[in-house]
């Protein structure tokens, strides 16, 4: 009954909806039907002429409605004040009826909702019309306008509450296991089933949706898709009635809560910078891992979905949509960024470098997403903050790398490393460098920045001599920053090792130690990504160097013993005949020397099997061979009782060398 009375103002939004549906139907029917009856043709022609005589509605809803209203207004003019008053009475009754009701309108069903929405829209349009009369206070309609505003306010307050309630009640659970990834084809919105304010064509909105959804695979429904059209309708009406602020405010607060909860679910607790700086590394380490995981999900899934939600409700790319999104998400994203900021401030311990690089890389990786989420002026503060934190993490990586270099230089020992094997520092540095190759791209970029800017004046006091590497005639421009820095680290390590080698009293052990460590460095580089960074030339030089040390070891260790096996000085003075006494003496000294070396060098260590083998062979070639020759030559002069070991015995004894466990030969001689 009420509907009939308000005939002239039946919402054209609903009519238009039906009209479009009907028109679609006709188009479809025409497409499949080639032959039309004359009746049909006549009706269609009538329709055509009627359409052409109608004024074309402008894009703006206001304009469209205004013009269409004119017709109605003319009809209504006759009714005048009374008719307007009747209209208000009807609207008011519809609106006020709900004021006594405890239930939410949208809970009761689409009919109730659409009726309420239409009534509210009528109030809005009535106001618009009355406003256009430029009423003065004395006009009769002035009081009506006042009443209409009052009704509108009641309706708007109600709609705001319904809007908020819909948003809250239809929030989708956040738990990662519920996260259903939306496929690009899915279309959950049944556009035709709902009331829509006539300010945007249904077709247009459908198109937009499909475009945006195809692009974003990780988008989830933060709010049940079934209520999105309702939310959009309410928002549209609130906007059309100049209640933009109330609507966006209500939206922002609900969504901000939701995102806050999301951080809670991702277990991102709030930490002050002071807390972070005080935290133990173990705890911090796991917090960082969690942060990296959470940031990715938060930006790629939640923020992207959040942005999509506000686009769906307020219109894609609309300033209000972006503003609401930024307001709703700012606190959460800044909370996450604050952790990154705190990390970048903290002490630059070398062991943190990998985690900080992880943080840097995840943020750098998300930067394009963040840039497109926080567009324009509205998002600029968040966008700038993201870039700032990224920059700070990058600075932190650089400084920490320098600290690493300094730490190597500063690593001092007071006692020699037992056995002359691979020093823990060498292992640490080489493994550290090898792990860093996983971050080559970022590291190259960040170290380059430093070289160019020379921003932070944290120059190490001891500038690491890069030796032949940097002085080599090869063009420095062809060498990456990472290469330069890595070579420099290796040089620092080498000079540190040289210093450490001096702690050994035995010269041969000094060389053995350097041989071991240089060999280890070269092998480590050869067998990993480091090869690409250091280059073959560098490896060749290390190989040459450790071989030099091997030679020097042999010389220092064996040359005096080998001298005993030479023929000089074993003759009876003044003759060419061999002195048996001298020969016996020589042999005894040789055995003593060998036993001595055996006792000492079995305790030494060459961890690399191949290197150990090679060195034994090399010793065998020199020493055992010399012994064989000596023995063969002077066999005839020697009584068996003076021969303690034959060549094969010695060969076998050599196998005990460099195993790191000290041994003695049986029946040790005097002393």
């Amino acid at each position: 009954m009420a509907v009939e009375e308000s005939e002239p103002v039946i919402p054209e939004l609903e009519r238009e909806e039906n009209l479009i549906a009907a028109a679609r139907h006709i188009v479809k029917a025409l497409g499949s039907n080639k032959n039309l009856t004359t009746d049909a043709k006549k009706i269609l022609a009538d329709l055509g002429s009627k359409l052409s005589s109608m004024s074309i509605p402008s894009e703006m809803e206001e304009g469209k409605e205004g013009e269409e209203d004119e017709e109605e207004e003319e009809e209504e003019e006759e009714g005048g004040v009374n008719a307007t008053e009747d209209r208000i009475n009807v609207i008011q009754e519809k609106i006020m009826r709900w004021e006594e009701d405890q239930s939410m309108i949208w809970d009761l069903g689409p009919e109730e909702a659409s009726e309420y929405l239409n009534a509210a829209n009528e109030a809005r349009r009535l106001i618009e019309k009355l406003e256009s009369f430029n009423l003065s206070k004395d006009d009769q309609e002035y009081k009506l306008l006042q009443r209409a505003y009052s009704v509108l306010q009641t309706a708007m307050a109600r709609l705001e509450e319904e809007f908020r309630n819909l948003l809250i009640q239809n929030r989708q659970p956040f738990e990662p296991e519920y996260v259903s990834f939306r496929s690009s084809e899915e279309d959950p919105v049944d556009e035709n089933s709902i009331v829509s304010l006539g300010d945007e064509s249904v077709e247009e909105s459908l198109q937009r949706d499909s475009v945006s959804r195809a692009a974003e695979e990780h988008i989830i429904d933060l709010v049940h898709p079934g209520v999105i059209p309702d939310l959009r309708c309410i928002a549209n009406l609130l906007f059309a009635s100049n209640y933009v602020q109330e609507c966006s405010h209500a939206y922002t607060i609900v969504r901000r809560d939701a995102l806050d909860e999301c951080l809670f679910i991702l277990e991102m607790e709030r930490l002050s910078i002071e807390d972070v700086l005080k935290m133990e590394w173990g705890t911090l380490n796991s917090k960082i891992k969690r942060w990296i995981w959470a940031l990715k999900i938060f930006v790629r899934v939640y923020l992207a979905s959040e942005r999509w939600l506000s686009d769906q409700i307020f219109g894609e790319g609309e300033p209000v949509s972006i503003a609401c999104f930024v307001d709703a998400s700012k606190a959460s994203i800044l909370q996450l960024l604050n952790f990154g900021e705190a990390m970048s401030i903290g002490p630059h311990k070398p062991e943190k470098l990998f985690r900080i690089l992880d943080m840097y890389e995840v943020l750098a990786d998300l930067m394009p997403d963040l840039d497109s989420l926080y567009l324009d002026d509205v998002g600029s503060s968040v966008r700038i903050e993201c870039h700032e934190v990224l920059k700070r993490l990058g600075d932190c990586v650089r400084v920490t790398f320098i600290e690493f270099e300094n730490a190597i230089a500063a690593n001092a020992s007071t006692n020699p490393f037992i056995g002359g094997g691979i020093h823990p520092l060498t292992r640490y540095v080489m493994n550290y460098l090898r792990t860093l190759t996983d971050y080559s791209e970022s590291l190259n970029l960040l170290l380059k920045d430093r070289d160019e800017e020379d921003a932070i004046s944290l120059s190490p006091d001891m500038s690491p001599g890069t030796e032949e590497d940097s002085k080599s005639p090869g063009s420095p421009s062809g060498v990456s920053s990472m290469t330069l820095h890595f070579r420099s680290v290796a040089s620092v390590l080498e000079s540190n090792l040289e210093e450490k080698s001096l702690l050994y009293k035995e010269v041969p052990l000094q060389h053995l130690f350097l041989m071991n460590n240089l060999h280890y460095m070269a092998e480590k580089v050869k067998g990993s990504e480091l090869r690409l960074i250091y280059g073959d030339e560098w490896i060749r030089k290390r190989n040459w160097k450790f071989q030099q040390h091997a030679m020097k070891y042999e010389r220092a260790s064996w040359s005096s013993i080998l001298n005993l096996l030479k023929d000089e000085g074993i003759h009876v003075p003044g003759t060419t005949s061999i002195s048996k006494t001298l020969l016996r003496e020589r042999l005894r000294s040789f055995y003593l020397g060998f036993e001595d070396v055996y006792r000492i060098q079995t305790a030494w260590l060459i961890p690399d099997v191949q290197l150990r083998e090679d060195l034994r062979i090399s010793i065998s070639l020199k020493v055992i061979q010399a012994y064989r020759t000596f023995f063969g030559r002077h066999n005839c002069h020697l009584n068996d009782k003076y021969i303690k070991y034959n060549a094969d015995d010695l060969e076998n004894y050599l196998l005990d060398f460099f195993e790191g466990s000290q041994k003695c030969l049986q029946n040790p001689h005097r002393r």
């Binding site: 009701d101 405890q102 239930s103 939410m104 206070k137 002035y142 306008l145 006042q146 009443r147 209409a148 505003y149 009052s150 009704v151 509108l152 306010q153 009641t154 708007m156 307050a157 509450e161 908020r164 309630n165 809250i168 009640q169 100049n242 602020q245 109330e246 405010h249 209500a250 922002t252 607060i253 609900v254 901000r256 809560d257 806050d260 909860e261 607790e269 709030r270 930490l271 002050s272 910078i273 002071e274 807390d275 700086l277 700012k330 606190a331 959460s332 800044l334 909370q335 604050n338 401030i345 503060s381 500063a410 932070i456 004046s457 944290l458 006091d461």
Partner: protein, 394 residues
């Protein structure tokens, strides 16, 4: 942006000072280092005093005491002091001088205060976000009342926003903006509240909640100021003095920000920070501090959103308008409407100032944050160098 140009300007004066310093360094070898240093210290003290004295004399718009404009000026002056402090302490100085007593103890304390100040910066920056929330509510009031026709509808709309606004102001202050778990469910509330226009206050509650729950601005300020003691005897003329001045300025500026802007947990702020007396450079700061303390004591009991001048004004207007709304009957008398119009205009003026000033203020707070972080890094580096140089000698 005004903030940037001002900063550039500061940078200029800072660089100017550096060059002076360089000349002095060169001449130091010839004349007495000590005289130079004394002169320099005095210059620094005088400058600090002048800077804060200027803040004391600000009375008129747009830099009325504790207004957004005034706070921005305060931060500018602070940034200048900070640059001058570094010039005095670091430029051309041997790391050894900085690492020896009493600085070996004073500097780490300063660095610790800097860390504490970072969280305060973050907290007040969040406070600015919640001021924006209040600003938006005020803008709803403007939309409702900035009309030719003021009837029941407009008044009810305004009333709803005003109640939310006043309750947000109260809320910001009481809880410092923390959302407690239980509050979340409040927004689910069913209808049924009789006075609906006023019931909307809950959803309009605070929007700043990114500080950890147990974090307290007052505790933080207290921790920064409790072990702050003026240098005595010999130390009072040496390098300990600029460090103390810097500490004092840092604590004072943050304390002022906490007093002015919404911030988590600040009950008893007025009593927690005592300024040194009888020091010539400190007089303007002391005067400012006393003035703010008094204001704070007056307002603390009433529960306001902070001492920010714009907020004080807005609260009064909002209260007035709410009273008007409560007793409103259509049609209102003409002279009453005139009064409303005047109040609305003033409210619009405040909103404009907030719109123009809050963002630059927030940026400046970020600038302070980053500047003190950088200073901290520089000092750490110097101390580190000194420690390394120390090893061979000891």
């Amino acid at each position: 942006m005004p903030a940037t140009t001002e900063n550039n300007h500061n940078q200029g004066s800072f660089l100017g000072r550096i060059s002076i310093r360089r000349n002095q360094v060169i001449s130091m070898s010839m004349d007495g280092t000590h005289d130079m240093e004394c002169e320099e210290m005095e210059l620094f003290q005088r400058q600090v005093a002048e800077r804060f004295a200027e803040l004391l004399s600000c009375r008129d718009e747009p830099e009325a005491f504790m207004s957004i404009g005034w706070l921005r000026k305060l931060l500018d002056e602070f940034l200048c002091c900070e640059a001058e402090f570094k010039a005095v302490l670091l430029m051309g100085r041997d790391p050894f001088q900085i690492a020896k007593p009493p600085l070996d103890k004073l500097l780490p304390e300063l660095l610790d205060r800097i860390i504490k100040s970072l969280d305060v910066c973050n907290a007040v920056s969040l406070g600015i976000d919640s001021l924006r929330n209040i600003q938006r509510l005020a803008e709803i009031v403007l939309s409702a009342l900035d009309q030719t026709l003021i009837g029941d509808g407009q008044v009810r709309r305004a009333k709803k926003a005003l109640s939310a606004l006043l309750s947000a102001m109260l809320h910001e202050d009481k809880d410092g903006g923390i959302t407690k778990g239980t509050e979340r469910s409040r927004s689910f509330g069913r209808r049924g509240n009789k006075d609906k226009d006023r019931s909307a206050a809950a959803p309009f509650r605070s929007l700043s909640w990114t500080m950890p729950k147990n974090w307290s601005a007052v505790k933080q300020i207290h921790a920064m100021s409790s072990n702050l003691a003026a240098p005595r005897g010999n130390e009072s003329s040496g390098l300990a003095l600029p460090v103390f001045i810097m500490n004092t300025a840092l604590v004072f500026v943050l304390w002022t920000l906490v007093a002015a802007l919404p911030c988590q947990e600040r009950n008893g702020l007025g009593t927690h920070f005592q300024m040194p007396r009888n020091l010539s450079w400190a007089q303007p700061i002391t005067a400012l501090q006393e003035r703010i303390s008094e204001e704070w004591k007056k307002k603390e009991k009433k529960g306001t959103v902070g001492l920010l001048e714009e907020m004080q004004k807005m609260e009064k207007i909002a209260q007035w308008l709410l009273d008007f709304a409560d007793s409103f009957q259509f049609p209102a008398e003409a002279d009453k409407l005139e009064e409303v119009k005047a109040q609305v205009e003033e409210l619009a003026d405040i909103c404009r100032k907030m719109e123009e000033g809050l963002e630059p203020l927030q940026l400046q707070i970020r600038e302070v944050f980053h500047r003190v972080v950088r200073t901290r890094t520089e000092f750490l580096h110097v101390l580190d160098q000194a420690a390394k140089l120390n090893i061979p000698t000891s």
